[in-house]
């Protein structure tokens, strides 16, 4: 944790510098008759962020913050595994949205999570994976008139049937 805190502060300091540089694409000073330039607000806020990173590093050096006093690893093997399985699952879920539609991605993600990670039985996992997207479809597309991504053209026949029902 101790190493992690100073690395995080360093990364955030670099990000703050990047934001300062990016803000400076617009004027950051006071323009007579126009007020503060368009980049002034984010520039000076990013500068404060940089100063805060400096203070965080100072506190790390003094060992006053709880992470700077801790010798534990930032994530143990369980933590990394969890991050890979759950975080990775979410990334795949979002990646699938434009391929098999939002509803298809919901079904796959729910099946993966409840069956593989949650170790629930097939009947429960399958029911959740199939019923939830249908309910979501009727809520978003039918009631709220919000169209969610329908994926690649091969999903069209399914959506045609569903649109027949609601329109």
């Amino acid at each position: 944790m101790r190493n992690g805190e100073i690395v995080t502060a360093g990364v955030l300091a670099l990000f703050s510098l990047y934001l300062m540089w990016k803000s400076a694409e617009l004027p950051i000073g006071y323009i007579s008759g126009q007020g503060p330039g368009g980049g002034a607000w984010p520039f000076w806020l990013s500068a404060i962020m940089l100063v805060c990173c400096g203070f965080t590093a100072f506190n790390w050096w003094r060992r006053t913050s709880p992470p700077s006093q801790s010798d534990e690893p930032m994530l143990d093997s369980y933590g990394w595994r969890m991050l890979f399985l759950v975080g990775g699952g979410i990334v795949v879920f979002v990646g699938l949205v434009n391929v098999i539609s939002m509803y298809g991605a919901i079904a796959v993600f729910l099946l993966y999570y409840t069956r593989y990670l949650g170790r629930h039985g097939w009947p429960l996992s399958l029911s959740l994976a199939l019923i939830t997207p249908v309910l979501f479809f009727f809520f978003f597309e039918g009631a709220m008139r919000i169209t969610l991504p329908s994926g690649m053209p091969f999903t069209d026949p399914v959506f045609n049937v569903l649109y027949e029902i609601i329109y």
């Binding site: 955030l12 404060i48 939002m102």
Partner: protein
Amino acid sequence: MEVLSLLANGMLLALQPLNLALILIGVSVGLFIGAMPGLGSVNGVAILLPVTFLVPPSGAIIFLAAIYYGAMYGGAISSITLGIPGASTAVATTFDGRPLARQGRASLALVTAALASFVGGTVANVLFTLFAPLLANVALSFGPPEVFALMLLAFATFIGLGGDDIPKTIFSICFGLVLGAVGFDQISGAPRLVLFDINGFLQGIGFLVLAIGVYGIGEMLWTIEQTRGEVTTTTPKMTVKGMAADTKEAVAKGWKGTTIGSFLGFFVGVLPAAGATPGSLMSYGVAKMISRRPGEFGKGNPDGVAAPEAANNSASTGSMLPMLTLGIPGSPTTAILLGGMVIWGLVPGPRLFVDETEFVWGLIGSFYISNVAAVLINLAFIPVFIWMLRMPFTILAPMIFVLSITGGYAATRDMFDVWLMVIFGIGAFFLRKFDYPLAPAVLAIVLGPIAEPTLRQSLLLSSGDPSIFFTRPIAGPITVVALILIFLPALKLLRRGRAKRPDEGRTTS
């Protein structure tokens, strides 16, 4: 007396069978929409606006106002049960509502939220009835310096939210404000902070993207990692006796927050540029500040639920005031209501109270009725919301992820935002590991777009002289209080450091 007779007539109009039915349907629909992450009163009102052309204007505005009311009540539900603030107005409710739910006290949190919302709404209705024209004039005297001072005060109250690590809290606030500045410069219209030259950033970063990322994804990853997947979901028993006990406890432990939220929320809501979000978070900050045990805030203090909930309801009624009396909408939802009124042939403004007496007082009467309907319907649904929490965590967690992704998409209809949400969620997980408070960032991204233009307009007014924030009669005191609040924690730390040094000297000698 004249006001009372007008109000009585208005209530009679609101109680007509058609209007009463519209109130009940509106409140129920609003409650459901408000409880969905990603959807808020603005969605409900916008979607159902065309439906209102089927009924007379008075019935139409009553229906839309009922949806607005229901959604304000509903916002607390996802904050408490799922830990995802469905709307910016319910962010502060998450701070103590979610910890209460985790402790198995979700029903207490929900009852507190419902009762506080009811009291907030009622206080606001009374203030609205009695002081509408007067308050409209006060609100008009708030120029950019006053609004910026108010924002500064809101940021100052944030600093107290982040615990003792002040640099990390200030970092979080500034980070949220910078994210709020991404997209276009509001004044010159030039593209600004288009990060890594990715065009998706041109549309800016919405509050929901950060809020759902932090709370819907980051918070869930954190919970799964911390509890090693063995999350003990709360299994509260919902009985009539249990709810009566919760009601008693909610009144005993939440009255202070409710009182603060009701009055402060209304006043902030009345200001044209502010609205329910600053009102709710300022009320939370003030309730924490004046509490005898501020350390309990953020860990499940009913006052921490009551203050923002009373405030957001009170503010939503308050925001109707500039809309009706001045024709200035105080929030996106009231902007749509205003549009509806124009379509129905009504002209909002000072003449509305004179020219359309029946309409105005019918609407005000409906506020009272909607408020009663909303609290009753909300309380009746609490067992259903509690039932959700009794699901095994391995079912609840993926459902929350699914709601987060679909809700995040539904708000902007852009997959770029969904990817950004996932990145924020994973980033928030790591930042939380190192004690970076993220709530201030979420609140700052909401207030940033209000704060920046008012700061720039103020400095333009004063030709760059910052003393404008100290010399004006309303802005001056607010700025001074804000600065005291900002520097107070630093002074406390210095004092603590000085007090430690002699002790250390003694132990070493």
